[in-house]
Symmetry: C2
Subunit: 332 residues, 2 copies
């Protein structure tokens, strides 16, 4: 019997279609294989082909091309950094200028590495880069939100294969984040508890949907996932805004890489998207929302129907997805 499940945060119902139940091998997404050799604007030596560097990490004594991480503006930005918001009405409609920042975090100088294969030290740096960019962009009063997201693989929307993350700073809060944030607030008003705390407590007691945990973080398959193998990583302690734990990103780097390795093992290095959901700038500190990372392997091609209805049919129950991931053999 298929099942209808409700996401406890945003209230969206999804079908968990066990009848159509699929095993990981049934998903024929293209494996991601990076090739060295061609021209790549993100490789060392080609720094001149990107817009001017916003930030970079270089070991002591390294020259300009000796960076280990770089942040640069997107060469084809969706939004533009200069100007005022120019909020205006057009009859009953609302619009504003497309002001914002659109940046690229080049995670490594090594073309063939990915977040699954690079050193933990490097992922640590990537997470610090996210954090430092958030702290910097927050000072711009025009911005309400920074969306940090990664498209891994062409099928997930990547146009360059060199491992990178993107961020978009926005004068508005994206619809789904806003919905989540407001629902979490309502839950808190009703119960005086953070809904994410309640979810983590229940998941730890139940255990079936827990993929992995370390001291500071937990990776779970959510109760009502929209897509097969959707995975969330959350801090175990309350943190409303994306930040390190005890001034350290090591634990997050470890669980993020471990989870991606598990996905790679189960789904043969699938394309995926991940997105960090965090509190908006003007409500950074609160008791009701907890930042988290949502990872979605790109396994199915349908989109228009889901876009148009907000209704999802998922052929892999999260309990099974979590079990496959827990049982995956990964090093480390």
């Amino acid at each position: 019997m298929p099942e209808l499940r409700k996401d406890p945060i945003v209230g969206r119902w999804v079908i968990i279609s066990v009848e159509r139940g699929k095993r990981p091998a049934d998903f024929s997404s293209p494996s991601i294989k990076r090739k060295a050799g061609g021209f790549c604007p993100f490789c060392p030596g080609n720094e001149y082909t990107t817009p001017n560097e916003i930030m970079a990490f270089r070991p002591p004594g390294a020259g300009f091309t000796g960076w280990t991480l770089r942040v640069v503006p997107n060469k084809f930005p969706a939004l533009q950094i200069h100007g005022d918001l120019g909020k205006t009405a057009e009859g009953m409609y609302d619009r504003m200028n497309g002001i914002g920042a659109h940046e690229v975090i080049i995670e490594t100088p090594v073309h063939t590495e990915s977040l699954s294969t690079m050193s933990l030290k490097r992922i640590n740096d990537v997470l610090w880069a996210y954090y430092l960019r958030l702290q910097d962009l927050k000072r711009d009063k025009r911005f309400k939100y920074v969306l940090i997201f990664k498209n891994e693989g062409e099928a997930a929307g990547a146009t360059l294969e060199h491992s990178h993350t993107q961020l978009i700073a926005l004068p508005i809060v994206p619809a789904l984040v806003k919905e989540e944030f407001e629902s979490a607030k309502k839950y808190y008003d009703l119960k005086e508890r953070c809904i994410f705390c309640d979810i983590i407590t229940q998941e730890l007691e139940d255990g079936r949907r827990v993929i992995y945990q370390n001291e500071g973080y937990i990776a779970i398959a959510p109760f009502a996932p929209r897509a097969p193998f959707e995975t969330w990583i959350l801090p175990k302690e309350h943190q409303s805004f994306f930040q390190p734990r005890n001034n350290d990103f090591t634990g997050l780097a470890e669980i993020l890489q471990r989870t991606l390795k598990q996905l790679d093992a189960v789904l043969d290095v699938p394309p995926y998207n991940f997105i960090i959901h965090t509190s908006p700038f003007n409500e950074e500190e609160n008791e009701f929302y907890r930042w988290h990372i949502e990872i979605t392997p790109k396994l199915t091609k349908i989109a228009g129907f889901e876009w148009g209805s907000g209704f999802f049919i998922n052929s892999v129950p999260p309990e099974e997805a979590a079990r496959f991931m827990r049982e995956a053999k990964v090093d480390g």
Copy 2:
């Protein structure tokens, strides 16, 4: 300068990225070409390969294989028709049995026809079939909503090329429809006017986003479209639930086919999805919501990022999309 625009109904902001502005020819979606010859379970003579017929149209005197339209259960249904809802809690979570109907409307006996190329009489029949199935499924008190949708082309999720529509009857209202419905209700509470009436009035006065209109219906590019060439068809008079106009679907058949022909002309027969949004069964008659059809050509492959954020970047301003469509040369 790119622009941020807010959908007046659900409040979702999107970027209209004129800098990245694309012309129709920049979208390289695969053209849909149907081939006769292979085995097709939806072709006449193969009726025995589908589950038992729910409904069919046959001209007087036609035999079993002489149908012009058939409705059959989906052979691999996402939901199952027999059983009770079994609503239960699992700790803080909510679930119910996957009860529902999943049907296929086989629109024509001719394998190579599509909604763009079949006769208007045939489209008329297709719309009547939608209506009759809605009326029938409404009598099942377990159902709150029927989602009618079409995946045209493999890239849009179709697994069989013979032209067909699907419907899913649900014991819940899908998230986006619910959001739209509730927002429209709030608007009405505030202004005593239907938001869809206000949109149509403004669009007709402005004209830039009007694609086509006939006596009863209007096709527009919405002000804040999520995707290039997103198109809505709405009745000009207030109708909260999907229904014919003066007991006749001719006008709707005409504008639907005309709009699809325009899309075919501009985008070289693109894959697309369409979805009918209508009021839920328990609030069929109301003053604030208007049923409509949302058509989205499947031109871009990214989905995970949009799924995760509810935030869309659209490289074609709706004013330009509407102009391209208006100027398209189509017969009829």
